[in-house]
Symmetry: C2
Subunit: 414 residues, 2 copies
């Protein structure tokens, strides 16, 4: 069977057994069979530069991380109701990257589970219910979080208040004003605040990063109203912004919760919530929390190995340096093509604004044909999302930029 | 450092960094360092028969499953928005074990994510909100599911109606009567039904399995009221009852949803929801669903390998045969000791009723000292929960039974 026949047959099998709620990327879906570093290979042997997936932070199938998973899986895979080294090591390692006020760790399987729990804890300890999110936010798949993820198009849940975050902020105080306005609306509605929940790189809003520090006043505002600040680090966490391990660091704030997921195990399902000791104790007075797979020894080994690689291979420095190089290259495309109207983001998380969702979709599919994988996000899906593994080199960035330039130059209709 | 010093030091480190909401099993927590088959080893080198953990269905650290995880992790670990073999293979494999009406698969990371989604889909497609659960039910950790898990002691959520399931049913129709009563209460409250959600081995209720078939009338009742039936297979699934892959098979019903988790990857975080094509399509008309880690190629490989082992090693047959042997042995203890008042369950999921939660706790801790790990469940935690890996042999069951007999005979105060 040829690669094409195999592709069609697999698509047909897939349509028969997987829920139609699943959607494949790209006009021509990519049939992937292996991956290594920044490259992902299709069934015909062609390779694609993966500049989209925020999970394989250290590069696909990193041998050190694969080895750590394999070794731990062969020795012990069990849960946190027994005493064992791995979850303790991981919690210590995570806390060492955090402000000293952050002292308590809970391990889960997905960013969704972490955010769902952060909201539950916030509501339990504040006695409030009101939650503020941005109007293109995405925070997870649980029933609770769907109502806090307006980018899905679903109605927001009860006591959820949205703010329209501008793609370019006027000044460092603008975001705080929007949060204060949401708190006013909450007060008018008789709702007591529980939390401000934001992705600290505003990924689904289109990668809004400037001016650094714009979250500071917002955190003061939610605290002033008796609510808590949840830094959703699922997208920016583990070094992506190039300015430290966590996105909130660029804004010089200490969150009440940092939630993390996607890149944490370089693909292994592991996620976490980090909070203050005080909040963890206040919650424990009301409720327990146990998660069967959350914090299992193998998931912890995967996360520890990922942190090892981030450190040993200098991936945060690379996110800063190669991220700057990528940013300069993308800026020069923005300067040259009218359909590209702006560049945002930080480190190796970049958003390129286009004039429309249609144009963004055509660029995404054009780049896929040219061997580069990116995606789109933001209002009307008009922003391009560029998020390669943090191990990407300048040569690989050059391939991305040259491909981007070529499709804009050669393909008709842009 | 001695094993005891190491143990104390690790406990202290753990208390410093993990949330106090975590609880360790046993009066003397078990510091585990490795596991193999039915045995789990502490830091001092002592081995314990694991007759509690429902996750390592094929035995701890099964080399075939570990190998499958390691191989797949080295080749490709990515998500369902690319076309790839593994999730399709897994969905086909799962559907082959199901009634033909079950035609659509969604993959998640935990039973909680699967149950949370099943409720969301039920409410979306029925337009109802009412959910019926048992009064000692446990269905997961999400915000939504905490309100459907009264065993946690938390208040039930809005539109959740509980039924008090008797430990011994009068007849095959009794459960249906209870569900009909809950539907009446729902109607009186003006709530439209969405779903009946039950663990088909009633694990947290104390392992209620007889008479087989008692779910049949209940499923007819919820269908008659326009609601759907969610079979929570997280506990009974993957052969534990010895009567087929799924707990609902003992009751001769076809669910609208089967949700599964714990044993699905023998410890790897993988879970799933299986539903009918019609329901999946109806849901897709309203909402999408995507889960970053859910259905990743490595999680699928772990689940496929676990299904291979269940089949090749005849684990369902062993659950039936060795389960019967275990049941006979436990029954003879029930016959001989007055503090044990009854035996329930099926296959290798057994509940031994004791006279009180205190007694159950003392037996659990006594067995732990004797080298056998079990747990407790049910109303007042007065039932002992015995759930060894499905690979357990008669010799190992003998060790369990002899240890059980010895602690009841030798220790004062029972």
């Amino acid at each position: 069977m040829s690669a094409t026949e195999n592709h069609e047959a697999l698509l047909a099998r897939r349509d028969r057994v997987l829920s139609p709620s699943y959607r494949l990327f790209y006009e021509e879906p990519l049939h992937v069979v292996r991956a290594e570093g920044v490259w992902i290979y299709d069934a015909g042997g062609r390779r694609y530069l993966d500049a989209y997936n925020n999970v394989p932070v250290a590069g696909h199938c990193h041998p050190y991380i694969v080895g750590a998973i394999a070794r731990q899986a062969a020795i012990l895979n069990t849960h946190t109701r027994y005493l064992s080294e791995r979850p303790v090591e991981l919690a210590e390692r995570l806390l060492a990257t955090m402000p000293s006020a952050m002292g308590s760790v809970i391990l889960t399987n997905s960013g969704s589970e972490a955010n769902d729990l952060a909201i539950r804890i916030s509501r339990t300890v504040t006695g409030g219910t009101g939650v503020i999110v941005t109007d293109c936010a995405y925070h997870g798949t649980s029933d609770l979080l769907q109502g806090m993820s307006p980018v899905t198009g679903l109605p927001t849940g009860p006591d959820v208040f949205t703010i329209a975050v501008p793609l370019a902020m006027r000044d460092v105080g603008e975001f705080a004003t929007l949060v204060e306005d949401a708190l006013d609306r909450m007060r008018d509605a008789g709702v007591k605040p529980a939390a401000l929940l934001v992705d600290t790189i505003f990924g689904s809003d289109g990668a809004i990063a400037e001016p650094a520090g714009f979250l500071k006043g917002a955190v003061e505002a939610i605290h002033g109203a008796g609510g808590l600040f949840i830094a959703d680090e699922v997208q920016p966490g583990f070094g992506r912004t190039g300015a430290g391990m966590w996105g909130f660091q660029r804004h010089d704030v200490t969150p009440d919760f940092a939630t993390m997921g996607k890149p944490m195990g370089n693909g292994h399902p592991v996620a976490s919530l980090v909070t203050t000791r005080e909040i963890a104790e206040a919650f424990t007075r009301h409720q327990r929390y146990f998660n069967t797979f959350g914090g299992n020894t193998v998931s912890c080994a995967a996360a520890l190995a990922t942190m090892d690689v981030i450190e040993r291979e200098g991936l945060i420095e690379n996110a800063a340096q190669t991220g700057t190089y990528l940013g300069q290259g993308l800026q020069s495309l923005v300067d040259r093509y009218e359909i590209l109207t702006g560049l945002r983001g930080a480190g190796l998380f970049r958003g390129v604004q286009t004039v429309s969702g249609d144009i963004a979709t055509r660029i995404v599919n054009g780049l896929r044909r040219a061997g580069v994988l990116i995606g789109s996000a933001g209002r009307g899906n008009a922003a391009l999302k560029v998020r390669p593994p943090l191990s990407i080199t300048r040569t690989e960035v050059d391939f991305l930029l040259e491909s981007f330039d070529r499709i804009l130059r050669d393909e008709p209709g842009y």
